[in-house]
């Protein structure tokens, strides 16, 4: 399992807090593990919660109709990259 970057750890903490993943610590989420389906097993309501937390913390609004958002929800790593790229705009 590859190590988390500082930005990924920050995002992992946001996920754990937003979704109340009590049984998993932020530093245990593998950067490339899939967030939905088999990995963390999140669903669309979770996606809504994550999007809400991201908008409140980083001011970035997710959009499902935007291809890059769909890709962003692949893993911790892609989600972090997406937010980093968009918050600087």
């Amino acid at each position: 399992m590859s190590a988390q970057t500082a930005a990924q750890l920050e995002m992992a903490e946001l996920l754990v807090e937003a979704l109340n993943l009590e049984d998993i610590a932020a530093n245990e989420i593998a950067p490339d593990e899939s967030l939905f389906g088999d990995g963390l097993g999140l669903d669309s309501i979770d996606a809504l919660e994550i999007a809400l937390a991201i908008s409140q913390k980083y001011g970035v609004q997710m959009q499902a109709e935007d291809e890059s958002t769909r890709k962003a929800f692949t893993s911790l790593s892609t989600l972090t990259d997406f937010v980093q790229a968009n918050k600087s705009k």
């Binding site: 807090e17 669309s44 309501i45 999007a51 809400l52 409140q56 959009q63 499902a64």
Partner: protein
């Protein structure tokens, strides 16, 4: 009873597929659909009917169709084309391959209708709308459907955990849709054109009644979009002319209101599937600058009553429905037989009522009676509680079975929750255990069937 005479007269009749002016605006298609060669924009009622006729000619011979189209407009085309071919729309609770298999076994003369379903069952009879050309000449007449034709079977969670089949003949939908139009939109439902957007899928009863059936009988132009994130909702609303109507659920409204995204004005909002708090109703009205009507209903009956939750606690029963004398049954013109009311009702005049909680809601502990609904209300109104449920678990070995609380919270501790309950509840009703969880096992439509909840709780406790 009035309902019996109605059935006798409608049973041999033909009823229209829709009651709209042919040149009126029926739908706004935003996604480029292969079946329409990527055409987007407004679709008139006459064009819609032309496409329904075109699709009806493409459908295979069958008794029923498992309609799993994701795009709302294609779902509507499929639904109506099936009606014209005398096929029943089977509307399952989810799109899982196992569900498709179960329905194909149960209804052997059926097939899956879809628009590129990723979870399509291998080697099953199916038709992909994306592979058809549905462009067609505008129709000049409105088709009719036999009143007693079985239009749809809506599957819902039964109390035993097995899906329950709710049979919906076409006359049921026609009568209930006209009632819903009047009650949800008001006297001007035939006059005022509204532009509607729904965040709910069309397959479930609430989405079916509002985003598919209402546009057939009221002046609604429905968007094919099903936006998820707040910014998507804002964008999709922005693309619609005014006045706008937003059809949603409490889960979605909470996300929209707290997102910080500036929402375009929506003069009308409809919400159902789970109880809405007064606070959220008021915040929603402020956020959209419109009037929010909350609707109460169940799958057997459909929508039954409404209230403006921001201002009133009491529900008004829809005209066309009436409670039986002991308030445990409901009768209606569109109901073949009286149906049980799921909640206990308190009413002085039989029309305006309060919900006192589910029939199985009363909890008796140590000689004291409590209401689970009141505990749920208290829990959900607690700051920092995002979602939660208080329920009675299966009786265990303890002398007293106590309510259990499962809570999805944000920045709230167990201690704070306990303090909140202690403050408002008799100690015997204190939920124990009180567990913080990631999420409740809700279904796509936001519902939380008891069987699922109990299984989830067993899993949490590790047995």
């Amino acid at each position: 009873m009035a309902c019996e005479t109605t059935i006798i007269t409608t049973i041999t009749q033909q009823l229209p597929l829709l009651e709209r002016q042919l040149n009126d605006r029926f739908a706004q298609v935003n996604s480029p659909l292969p079946a329409l060669h990527g055409l987007t924009g407004n679709i008139a009622v006459s064009e819609f009917i032309g496409q329904v006729l075109q699709l009806a000619a493409h459908l295979p011979e069958a008794g029923s169709v498992i309609n799993l189209c994701d795009n709302r407009y294609l779902f509507t085309l499929g639904f109506c084309a099936a009606l014209l071919r005398g096929q029943t729309n089977l509307l399952p609770q989810n799109r899982a391959p196992a569900t498709q298999q179960q329905l194909l076994d149960q209804y052997p003369h059926s097939y899956v209708l879809h628009d590129g379903l990723e979870t399509l069952l291998d080697n099953c009879p199916q038709l992909n709308l994306n592979q058809l050309d549905l462009r067609a000449a505008a129709a000049t007449a409105i088709p009719t459907i036999p009143a007693d034709q079985l239009a749809a079977i809506a599957f819902t969670s039964g109390s035993t955990g097995q899906p329950k089949a709710n049979l919906k003949p076409w006359h049921t939908f026609v009568t209930s849709s006209l009632m819903n139009a009047q009650e949800m939109l008001g006297d001007d439902y035939c006059d005022q054109l509204r532009f509607a957007l729904a965040t709910v899928p069309a397959q479930h009863m609430w989405g079916l009644e509002t985003s598919l059936l209402l546009p057939l009988f009221a002046r609604l132009c429905i968007s094919d979009a099903r936006p998820l994130f707040p910014q998507d909702v804002a964008n999709a609303l922005q693309q619609l002319p005014t006045p706008r109507l937003l059809i949603s659920t409490p889960v979605h409204l909470r996300a929209l209101v707290s997102s910080g995204v500036t929402m375009p004005q929506a003069a009308y909002l409809l919400c159902a599937t789970a109880p809405l708090s007064t606070e959220l109703a008021q915040a929603t009205e402020a956020c959209f600058g419109g009037e929010l009507i909350e609707v109460y209903g169940c799958s057997e009956v459909g929508s039954m009553a409404r209230r403006r939750t921001a201002q009133a606690d009491e529900w008004r029963l829809f005209e066309g429905l009436e409670f039986a004398e002991d308030l445990t049954l409901i009768r209606g013109n569109h109901l073949p037989q009286a149906q049980p009311v799921q909640d206990r009702i308190e009413t002085s005049d039989g029309r305006v009522f309060r919900l006192l909680g589910r029939g199985d809601d009363m909890v008796e502990i140590a000689g004291k009676r409590g209401s689970l609904q009141e505990m749920n209300k208290l829990l959900l109104a607690t700051p920092g509680v995002l979602d939660g449920v208080v329920f009675m678990p299966e009786p265990g070995q303890q002398a007293i079975t106590r309510p259990v609380a499962l809570v999805v919270g944000k920045g709230i501790s167990k201690q704070q929750l306990s303090a909140r309950f202690t403050e408002h509840l008799d100690p015997v009703f204190m939920p124990r255990p009180l567990l913080l969880v990631d999420a409740l096992p809700r279904e796509d439509n936001g519902k939380l069937p008891r069987a699922k909840l109990l299984a989830f709780y067993r899993q949490l406790r590790g047995h």
